[in-house]
Structure formats: structure tokens, C-alpha cells
Subunit: 330 residues, 2 copies
């Protein structure tokens, strides 16, 4: 009987919808996050939005991981201090706690380790950790908030990155239409979207794009079957290991909210989801998809857009006489 | 009896507190805003936060009028497209609806006229109005929102700036301690703050800094009694009129939330409120204030910090295939 249903499914869309059931799928729904320490999350949110963690006083975490825009900047590569062009596309911060490691090459083990990077990167926020700490220590409201959360006399980098990571861990996006379907709402997806999901599994996308985040849990070579043509010189994991086998190996990005996180791939070279689907199928799976198939998979991918984190814009405490001043132009 | 109270007031702080009563003051409290058209305000909020109104896709209204930071950027002068240094200090957007005109030189009659300026200014957002409209028209959710609010077939610049202005009109800051005092809460201010307020009136600050916004309702020459020394070449109203009498004439800024809107003056040359008070007294009023007097006025000024606008960070609708792409680096 199961076999028969499957056979019929090949011929008829409305039967397909019946044939697909959410049990035992390679993708799991995202659950709403439970906030263990609201004071820490609130502090982390302020830090995430505070441009005083940059040399210029102009760039915050939210500049390149904009929570109004899917946790990304929707640019090919990011704009850093003094309008420097970044080397790589800014990955979304949404659901990033589900990644096996952080950055495209996985060079940070977790969100806490990641958070320290851009602050001191001369091409990004171009500050120093010491100066960032001087800024925070000079502001009584920050000092009090750190005291409340960590109970130690002096703010440390470890605490700063811990608070930012705690905020970022709340940035999950449950409630997508696909998750509603996974949880048993058969009407949450239409026939095209279901056909796209079936294809997504059938052609092998779920080999890498699986789990809660629909990705983020392995490193893979970009251009497995056919090489990826790009002008971007980034070498991926090989940049860390020096190992030739790691050339063009990158962390598989999450496909959650992929509709919002254009342009695509580590080089941000593709702006349209249809193009990205086509490229992936050819280069990673050796499959030529036709137009209808690409549209079906694209339709499925758009059902992965979840509820965006909703919170009041944080109000930042003012600087004091002791606060190091921003230096945007020198 | 009134005269006697005044005489006593000079000698005794606790009697001063009794002597000052909120009636008939040169400053009026800010009232909470009543939103007439929530859909328009919500649309304007999205536009205010949308960096796609800039050529780079990186700079939004909120970049330089940051609502986490008193509606300003807390920089000497702002950072524009390609990291250009702006010519003047970014004025706060908070309570800006109370200004008699917009920009330091008043060249825009109102917020609606102002909003069009930075979008097309090559040193700021460096876009064109036509391209900004192309962006918005290419995004169905924006098109629907404009349809709902304005009921016309095509989005216009007039509608864009009208919606942004409607949002900005909600950015008022009632509930400051000074306003509580004005409304009859005698304990809202301490003796130092009240002494500062009395001095503020006595030395003549309220000649220009009065009304609901404690400023914003006249143009005055910067350096009335003694010239203002600055490296900033901006000429104020004379830049518009060519009239020598208008040299260094600027709109008097609001002092509401002045604790949050450092650095001060059109050239952003002074970072500390105490310095700004001292400079103003000497240059505008020909008065040398002693340290205690400066501290008292500063203490009063800090009571003008009101409730900051609180709202959920807007979520922006994604671009489509038809959306002109950002050009940060060409």
C-alpha cells in the first residue's frame, strides 16, 4: 500500500500532498527559545546594537547582521571601517546557535568566540578589545548591568562576548510554514511547495541541508561535481589548515529564512534564489533541474521563512567624560 | 511677598525649592503624541530603518539619527556614502517636529521636506529619488502598504517623505523629570537642579531655549557677544541667503535629551555638557559662570532627558528580482 501511494504520488499533485507526511523527515522544526537569563539577554542586545564597540562609533554587530533584514546585510560582501570591502558574504545571525561552528570557515568554535572577532578585525569594526572594554567600563549603566549579570568588579571580554552570544541564542525563527507542516498542519504547504520539498530530498539536497537549521552542521567543498567559478579569492577551511584538500571547503549555510538572506554563497555572487538552486544542483549534485523543478524547490525554500525576532529597539546608555571617543576619520 | 521670597531664595536652597513653582514658566512640558494614522507611522518607521534608500544599501535614516542613541549619531560630523565626512553635526530627530524649520540652517520648511534631502545628497545616502522609488515599487509589501495608506496606484516621493515625517512626528520624549516638575511634582527635581533652572533663566538662556523643545524656535548668531572659534567652514543661514548678516546664524537646537546628543554645536566640537554651558554663557550672553554655576545648569539640563521612543525594531520586506541592487563599491 505504501508503495502504491508512492507510485501514485509521481503522477498526481493532490495525491502527493496526501502521500507526504511529516513523520521521520530529515528536517526538524525550530522550537521557540526559552530565555534562561533575561538580564543577560537584554545586556547582550544592547551590546549587539552599540556602535561604540567599533573604532568609528558607527558600526555595530547589527550593521552587518541586520535584524531588520534577516540577520544579514543583503550585500555581496560587507562594508567595514573606512568603507573597506569585506572578503566574504555576511552570514545570517538568525539560528546561528545551531551551527556546528561559526564563520564560513568555522574558525570560531561558537557564538561567544565569534563575537570577539569583528570588534578587533581591522577590516570590520577596527577596534581593540582593550578599548572596547574601556568604553563599557566608563559607562555606569553598563557597569551596573554587568555587575547584575556577572557579579564581578570589572567588565571582561569574556563577559562581553558571553552576553552577545546569549542574545544571539534567542535569535531563532520558529513558526515557518514548513514547520507548521512538519507539526501536522497538512494545509500549511501547497502542492507546488510539497513537490519542491520532495524534489529537495530526492535530488539529494538534504544530504547537507538537514536538521533544524536545514544546514549548518557540516563543512563541504563548494564545487563537488563541477568547480565553482568565482572571482573571490577566499579558500575556505584551507585558509586555516593550509591543507589542499580543504580548498573551497565551507560551512554549509542554514537555509532557514533564505528568502531574506540574499545574495547567496560565500562570495554573494547570486542574488536570485532560483539561480542558487540551479547552481547547487549542478555543482554539488551533478543534476540539471528544469525550470519547473527549480521553481518548485524555490517555492519550498520560501516556506522556511520563520517568525523574525521581535523586540524593542534597545536604548543605549550615554557615554561619559571618561569614555574613549570614536575616531571615524583618523 | 513675592519679592521677599525671591530675596530669600538667593540665600537658602531649601527655600528656593519652595519659591520656584511650575506655573507660567518659559518651558512647557511635552505631551505624549496621539497617533492619527498607525498604518502610515508603521510604514514611515520601515522607511526610516531601510538602508535600501541609499546607494550602498548600508545607510538608513537611523544610521545618523540613531534612535538607540538619542536620535543622533554621537559623532562630530556624520559618516556618509563611501565614508565621506559630513560637513556638520547630525541634529537629533527627537522632538524635531517642534522645530520652526529643519536642518541647522533651516533650509527645509518641515520634516517632510527634510526627509528628501539626505537620500539624494551625494555626501550622505548618495542615491537618487527615482532609484529610491524604483526600489520601493519593486517590493510588493511596500506597494501594498502605500496602497493602504495613500490609495494611489504608484508610490511617489511625496508619499515616501510624508510617511517618514509621520513616523518622526511620533518621536517625542515626554515624561522627563523636568516635565514632571512642571506638572506639579515638586520632588521631581533636587535643589541643585532647581538652582540650575533658576540660573538658566536668570542669565538669559531662556531667551532662545524656551518652549516645549527648549529651543528650535528661532535662528540666532553663534557667537553673539564674542566670536565662536571653529575650524568648521559652515556659514549657517548665510550659505542660503548670501547675506553677510546671516553669517554663523543657525537654528537654536532643542535642549531636550541634550545629555544624549553629544557632541555639541553645529561643528560637534564640544563633547562635555559643562563645556557647552560655559561656551554658551560667554559667547552668547557675555557671562562668566563659575564651576558651581556650570554644574548646576548642567544638572538641570540632564533633567530634560525624557522617555525615549519605544517600539519593535521594524522587519523589512525582502527585495525582489526587480529591485535595483545596492552599489556600495562602484
Amino acid at each position: 500500500m505504501r508503495y502504491l501511494t508512492f507510485m501514485l504520488a509521481g503522477a498526481c499533485f493532490s495525491l502527493n500532498a496526501l502521500a507526504l507526511t511529516p513523520g521521520n523527515e530529515p528536517i526538524q522544526p525550530i522550537e521557540p527559545v526559552e530565555v534562561a537569563d533575561p538580564a543577560k539577554v537584554e545586556l547582550g542586545k544592547q551590546l549587539f546594537f552599540d556602535p561604540r564597540l567599533s573604532r568609528s562609533g558607527f558600526i555595530s554587530c547589527n550593521s552587518c547582521h541586520n535584524l531588520s533584514m534577516g540577520g544579514s546585510d543583503n550585500l555581496t560582501s560587507s562594508i567595514g571601517h573606512n568603507w573597506q570591502q569585506g572578503p566574504i558574504n555576511s552570514p545570517t545571525v538568525l539560528n546561528s546557535s545551531m551551527n556546528l561552528a561559526q564563520f564560513w570557515d568555522g574558525r570560531a568554535a561558537d557564538l561567544k568566540e565569534q563575537a570577539a572577532g569583528p570588534i578587533a578585525n581591522p577590516g570590520e569594526m577596527a577596534f581593540t578589545h582593550d578599548l572596547a572594554l574601556d568604553v563599557l567600563r566608563s559607562i555606569p549603566q553598563y557597569q551596573q548591568a554587568f555587575d547584575r549579570v556577572y557579579g564581578k568588579p570589572q567588565i571582561t571580554l569574556d563577559e562581553v562576548t558571553d552576553a552577545i552570544a546569549a542574545f544571539e541564542e534567542t535569535l531563532v525563527t520558529p513558526g515557518s510554514r514548513f514547520d507548521l507542516w512538519l507539526k501536522g498542519d497538512a494545509k500549511a504547504l501547497n502542492d507546488t511547495e510539497l513537490a519542491g520539498y520532495r524534489l529537495f530530498k530526492e535530488v539529494g539536497c538534504t544530504a547537507c541541508h538537514d536538521g533544524q537549521a536545514v544546514g549548518g552542521n557540516s563543512f563541504q567543498k563548494m564545487g563537488l561535481v563541477m568547480p565553482y567559478a568565482t572571482l573571490n579569492p577566499t579558500e575556505g577551511v584551507a585558509g586555516l589548515t593550509g591543507n589542499d584538500a580543504d580548498r573551497m571547503k565551507f560551512k554549509v549555510p542554514t537555509l532557514r529564512n533564505v528568502e531574506l538572506t540574499y545574495p547567496y554563497f560565500h562570495d554573494g555572487a547570486y542574488w536570485e534564489l532560483e539561480e542558487a538552486v540551479d547552481v547547487m544542483a549542478r555543482l554539488q549534485l551533478g543534476r540539471e533541474l528544469d525550470k519547473v523543478q527549480v521553481e518548485q524547490i524555490t517555492a519550498f525554500l520560501k516556506t522556511l521563512t520563520g517568525e523574525q525576532p521581535s523586540f524593542a529597539l534597545p536604548i543605549l546608555p550615554p557615554s561619559t567624560k571618561a569614555t574613549p571617543r570614536p575616531k571615524p576619520f583618523d
